[in-house]
Symmetry: C2
Subunit: 308 residues, 2 copies
């Protein structure tokens, strides 16, 4: 599975019900990693990590369940910027990650260590150990992704999305073999531009996907033609893409053979099929893990790997 943050985590809760942990590899986006107070924070990896550990905060979509924010409040009292909410327990993850990275270990090794300590048995791989960084050019500014999304609440017209460092980045150890061997490849219903896009911008990762597209499906992040949350529609519009399942499907053309469309978007099926993609209709809104499990079953079935 190729995973961004929240949408991926929701789908994962369902996918995990139909796969053995040892058969499940998640490749996570790291282009929205950011430093806060000198700590290396990997928001997408952590959302997946906490979800796999069964410790994710279910409503917010980020952070640990039951976490407290005493440190953040104290940071505020000291005059530090607190627009990125770091929980007290969550901080431990960032402290350990940062210390290990500073000691020279690659992010993939650090991620594996964190996963092991949190009791996660599925494999979580960062897309790369190299530094790739998303900048959103919006409102006349070049903004690091978290700055754009969290601090400025995705305001301003998006003129460009820049995935700095991707062209020279190497997939992390394990990524290419996992894609090469996978019985099914699923692109989560994440933002195709800033969550999945950075992976596709890594040349060797993209080529590995292209070779396996017959085994690959992408789940549309649109429902009724619109994103459930986040600035995806504004981004698509700003960059001149159609805000529609077809607009999404065009971004994944050549990378997946199957496109999973929400039933509310059935009208778009023929237009997506016209792009040469097979369309699967399903309920993609995942209010509960049971919804997610049904969606995962449908996707796996379509790829010939699901429950009958």
């Amino acid at each position: 599975m190729l995973a961004g943050g929240v949408g991926a985590a929701r789908f994962l809760r369902g996918l995990a019900r139909h796969t053995e942990p040892r058969d499940l590899t998640i490749i996570g986006n790291t282009a929205d990693d950011e430093e806060f107070f000198g700590l290396h924070v990997s928001p997408d990896l952590d959302t997946v990590l906490y979800t796999l550990a069964g410790r994710a905060e279910p409503r917010r979509g980020w952070g640990l369940r039951g976490d407290t924010f005493a440190c953040l409040r104290a940071l505020g009292r000291l005059g530090a910027p607190t627009w990125f909410a770091l929980g007290d327990r969550d901080l431990a993850t960032h402290l350990v990650r940062t210390a290990w990275l500073r000691a020279g270990r690659p992010l993939s090794a650090v991620t594996a260590h964190l996963a092991r300590r949190l009791g996660v048995r599925a494999r979580l791989l960062p897309m790369t150990d190299d530094r790739v960084r998303t900048f959103v050019h919006a409102g006349g500014r070049r903004l690091p992704f978290q700055d754009y999304l969290v601090r400025r609440r995705a305001r301003g017209r998006v003129a460009r999305i820049e995935i700095a460092g991707a062209a020279r980045a190497r997939p992390a150890p394990g990524v290419l073999p996992a894609l090469g061997r996978a019985e099914a490849i699923v692109i989560a219903p994440s933002n195709p531009l800033v969550s999945i896009g950075p992976m596709l911008a890594i040349p060797r990762l993209r080529r590995a996907l292209e070779r396996r597209r017959a085994r690959a499906a992408a789940i549309s992040p649109l429902v009724g033609g619109r994103p459930l949350k986040g600035p995806l529609d504004r981004m698509l519009r700003g960059l001149g893409h159609e805000v529609s399942p077809r607009g999404i499907a065009r971004l994944y053309r050549g990378l997946v053979g199957t496109f999973v469309l929400d039933r509310t978007d059935t009208v778009w099926a023929p237009r997506v099929e016209a792009l040469g993609l097979r369309v699967v209709l399903a309920d993609t809104v995942m209010e509960t893990p049971a919804h997610a499990a049904r969606l995962a079953a449908a996707v796996l079935r379509a790829l010939g790997e699901g429950p009958a």
Copy 2:
């Protein structure tokens, strides 16, 4: 005032009752600063800082009152060493300090910022902005101070105390003017070897003290000939010093004109006077701020600055 950690903080609660904040400068030991998870922790400065802010944990002698330890427990779950207890709110101090130091600001500027944000009006200066580091050679090992004191609980015979970097360190901005102008200089009842010792090992700071010794008093950290807490007696013994008020007074000879002795050690008065020091007898055990205030009044009176 020259300050180490706990003993200094206790005395400070009393001294603050007899001085205007603007007339009070505290010079703090930084040689037991340590990095934990990449964070710069200044235990002695923080103990003084939190005391001046009225937010210190009164019994423990370190950390913030009412602090929680969610992050530390989470660090433990991730397999990180947790022998140095960092509270959630306390962490904010270290995160801000570390970020500012990395941005190139000197420790003195960072300390002034933290003090201002915590509402402290007295002036707290680190002894130096340069890196000075105490190593205790004990049990055949060369141990960074916190490692020796906290992690190994001060075990092992002390063969040597090394104040690395002191000979080349420059006093922080404000330190020499404060010593030069002070109406009274008080060396707190801290460990003379590892809390006050690092300041005395900075040549220009030592010379500034020597010049003002007529205005300076040291408070003996011994009561009934023994330290109230900590490994001072083992250190003195290991290094061949007498474990007695006279042994302490010898360490301060030439630096203070007045030596404050606990009444339980009255028998030592003539022997300390024989070193050329004036002796003041007082109750130096500070169970409450009221005790500390009485001690501070006695010391200031002896230096001609106290309440009549």
